[in-house]
C-alpha cells in the first residue's frame, strides 16, 4: 500500500499542469524531446526549433501555444551557442545587428499576422501548412546535399569553390562594408533576409537558422565559419522579441513548457557538441533530414486525409 502510494506520488509528480496550454503533460517526455533536439542542435549546428514545434503539436499542445513557447525556449540555446562562438571569435556583430534590425521588424509583423489569423480561425492551418512547405523543402535539400557529399567522398574527389559568388544582389544600393565577413554589400539585403526570417520565427516558432544559414552563405556570401555564430546572435533577439510580443499580444507563451524544454535543450546541446566527432556530419545530416521529411509527411497526411470528424469545437475561456 505504501509502495503503491509512493509510486502514485512519483507518477503524479511526473505530470505537470501547463498554466497557459491548460493541460497536463508528462514532464520527462517534454524534457526528453528538448534534450533530443538540443543534441541535434549541438551535433549538426542547425536548430531543432523547426522540429520542436511540430512535436509539441503531436503531443496535443495547441499550435499557438507551441509556437510561442518554442520561440521562448530558443533564446537559451542561442545565448549558450553565441557565447561559445564568440570565444572563438566566430560572430560578425555588425552583420548580426543589421540582420536583427530586420528580424525585429519581421517578428513584429509576424505576431500581428498571428493575432489576425487567430481571429479568423485559420491560425492552426497556416502554422501546419507552412511547416509542411518548409520542412519538405529543407528536408529534401538537406537529404540530397548530404547524400551527394557522401557519394562524392566515397569517390574521393575534393572540389574547392570560390570565396563567394557575385550576383545581381550585390549590385543593390546603400552599400556597407562588413569587415569581419570581408563583404561590401547593400544593407538592404541582410535587412530583407532578417524581415523574412522574423516573420517566420513569429509564425512558426523557429529561430530561422535553417533559412538564414543558407541565405547568409548563398545570398550574402559570408564565410561559413562566421555563419552559425552570427545567425545565433540575431536569433537571440528575434526570439526574444517574438516571445515578448506573443506574451503581450496573444498571451500564448507557456513559461512552464518553455522552461522544461530549455532545460532539456541546453543539456542536449552541450552533449551534442561533445560528440560531434563520433558521427560524420554528412551522415548526421542524412539522419536529420530523414526525420524532417517524416515529420512533414505526418503533418501533410493530417492535412489531406479526411478528418474523422469534419466538425470541431472551440471553447472560449
Amino acid at each position: 500500500m505504501y509502495y503503491h502510494d509512493l509510486r502514485n506520488n512519483i507518477e503524479n509528480f511526473m505530470y505537470i499542469y501547463l498554466p497557459i496550454a491548460e493541460q497536463p503533460v508528462h514532464s520527462l517526455a517534454i524534457l526528453g524531446i528538448g534534450a533530443f533536439l538540443g543534441l541535434i542542435m549541438g551535433l549538426v549546428g542547425v536548430g531543432g526549433g523547426f522540429l520542436l514545434t511540430p512535436l509539441m503539436m503531436f503531443l496535443g499542445i495547441p499550435p499557438p501555444v507551441a509556437v510561442a513557447s518554442v520561440a521562448n525556449q530558443l533564446v537559451a540555446p542561442s545565448v549558450s551557442g553565441v557565447l561559445s562562438h564568440w570565444k572563438r571569435s566566430n560572430v560578425d556583430f555588425k552583420m548580426g545587428t543589421v540582420l536583427l534590425l530586420g528580424g525585429i521588424v519581421g517578428s513584429s509583423i509576424g505576431v500581428i499576422l498571428f493575432n489576425f489569423l487567430g481571429k479568423i480561425g485559420q491560425l492552426d492551418f497556416v502554422i501546419k501548412s507552412s511547416y509542411v512547405i518548409f520542412l519538405t523543402l529543407i528536408g529534401t535539400l538537406m537529404f540530397s546535399e548530404s547524400l551527394r557529399l557522401i557519394l562524392r567522398s566515397r569517390k574521393g574527389k575534393v572540389t574547392r569553390g570560390k570565396l563567394h559568388q557575385h550576383n545581381w544582389l550585390h549590385g543593390l544600393p546603400f552599400k556597407i562594408r562588413f569587415r569581419k565577413s570581408k563583404l561590401y554589400i547593400s544593407i538592404l539585403l541582410p535587412i530583407f533576409i532578417g524581415v523574412i526570417v522574423g516573420i517566420l520565427a513569429a509564425l512558426m516558432g523557429i529561430g530561422g537558422g535553417f533559412i538564414i544559414v543558407p541565405a547568409m552563405i548563398y545570398l550574402l556570401g559570408m564565410p561559413t565559419s562566421l555563419v552559425v555564430g552570427t545567425s545565433l546572435f540575431q536569433i537571440i533577439f528575434v526570439a526574444a522579441n517574438t516571445t515578448i510580443l506573443q506574451a503581450s499580444q496573444n498571451q500564448t507563451v507557456d513559461i512552464v513548457l518553455a522552461t522544461i524544454l530549455l532545460l532539456g535543450s541546453v543539456i542536449g546541446v552541450q552533449l551534442g557538441s561533445r560528440f560531434t566527432n563520433i558521427l560524420r556530419g554528412e551522415y548526421l545530416r542524412l539522419i536529420l533530414s530523414s526525420i524532417i521529411i517524416l515529420v512533414s509527411l505526418k503533418l501533410l497526411i493530417d492535412l489531406v486525409t479526411v478528418p474523422s470528424d469534419l466538425f470541431s469545437v472551440i471553447i472560449s475561456r
Partner: protein
C-alpha cells in the same frame, strides 16, 4: 428549476441530528467543494453522497452544470486537396461542462416529454445559436456540438452511476476531466418517484486555479509584457548559466 428549495445548512444539520426526517427531503454533501487546479492537476474525482426519503423504485438523477458561455463549432471543407476550417457557428449559453448521472437508464425513469420539459438530456438543453447566423442543416451542427463535447469528456451521460442503498442513501463519483473550465459548477440532485419529481437539492462546486499555476496564468493575463520579458530573461539566464557550468566539465 421550477420547484427550487434552497435548504439552509443549519436546517440540514438539525434534520440529521434530530433524526426526524422531514418529508421529501434530500440531504447531500460533496467530498470536495473547492477544486483547485494546481501544477499537478490531472482531473478530480469527487464523491457526492447523501440521504433521501425514498421508497422502493425511487430514482435519483444528478446533473452537474459548469459555467455557461460561448462555444464555437467549426466545419472543415476540402479546398485544393487540403482540409480547412471554412465555416463556424457560435452557440451561446452553452454549458462548458455537463454531466448527467442516474441510478438507471434515464429513458426508464422519465418519458421523452418530461425529459424535454425538465431540460434533462443533451438534446434538451437551452442552447441557442448566436442571433444572425444562418446555416443549412442546423441539426447537423447541433449534433456536432454534442459529439465533440462528449469526445472531450466535458459532457457526459453516466447512467447506472448513482448507487442507491436501502432506498435511503445515495452515492456517486463525479469525474472532472483535466481540461475542465474554471468557474462555479451547479450540482443538482433530483429525486423521482414514478416519474414525478419529489424533491431536489442544489449544491455547488467551485473550480479555480491555485498555486503557482494560477499565479502564472494571472500574470500572463494581467502583466503580459512583463511576463514576456521575464520569460526571455529566464531563458537568457539558463543559456548563460549552462555555458558557465559546461565550460568546466
Amino acid at each position: 428549476m421550477r420547484f427550487f428549495f434552497h435548504i439552509n445548512l443549519i436546517f440540514l444539520v438539525s434534520i440529521l441530528t434530530s433524526n426526524t426526517f422531514a418529508q421529501n427531503q434530500i440531504v447531500a454533501d460533496l467530498s470536495q467543494e473547492n477544486v483547485k487546479i494546481s501544477t499537478d492537476f490531472q482531473g478530480a474525482k469527487i464523491l457526492l453522497f447523501g440521504a433521501y426519503d425514498g421508497k422502493k423504485g425511487d430514482d435519483i438523477i444528478v446533473i452537474v452544470t459548469g459555467p455557461k458561455g460561448l462555444v464555437t463549432v467549426q466545419k472543415k471543407e476540402k479546398i485544393l486537396g487540403v482540409w480547412v476550417n471554412t465555416r463556424k457557428v457560435n452557440y451561446i449559453n452553452t454549458p462548458k461542462y455537463l454531466s448527467i448521472s442516474s441510478n438507471r437508464k434515464i429513458d426508464d425513469i422519465l418519458n421523452k416529454k418530461t425529459q424535454k420539459i425538465s431540460e434533462i438530456g443533451l438534446n434538451n438543453l437551452n442552447i441557442r445559436m448566436q442571433p444572425g447566423i444562418k446555416v443549412e442543416n442546423e441539426k447537423q451542427w447541433r449534433k456536432a456540438l454534442t459529439r465533440n463535447m462528449l469526445k472531450s469528456n466535458l459532457w457526459s451521460i453516466n447512467e447506472n452511476s448513482v448507487s442507491l442503498n436501502k432506498d435511503a442513501l445515495f452515492r456517486l463519483f463525479l469525474g472532472l476531466p483535466s481540461n475542465v473550465i474554471i468557474g462555479q459548477f451547479e450540482v443538482k440532485i433530483l429525486h423521482y418517484r414514478n416519474s414525478k419529481l419529489v424533491s431536489q437539492q442544489i449544491n455547488s462546486i467551485n473550480v479555480s486555479k491555485s498555486g503557482i499555476s494560477a499565479e502564472i496564468y494571472d500574470i500572463a493575463q494581467n502583466y503580459s509584457t512583463l511576463y514576456g520579458i521575464f520569460a526571455v530573461f529566464l531563458a537568457v539566464l539558463v543559456g548563460w548559466g549552462s555555458n558557465l557550468i559546461f565550460r568546466k566539465v
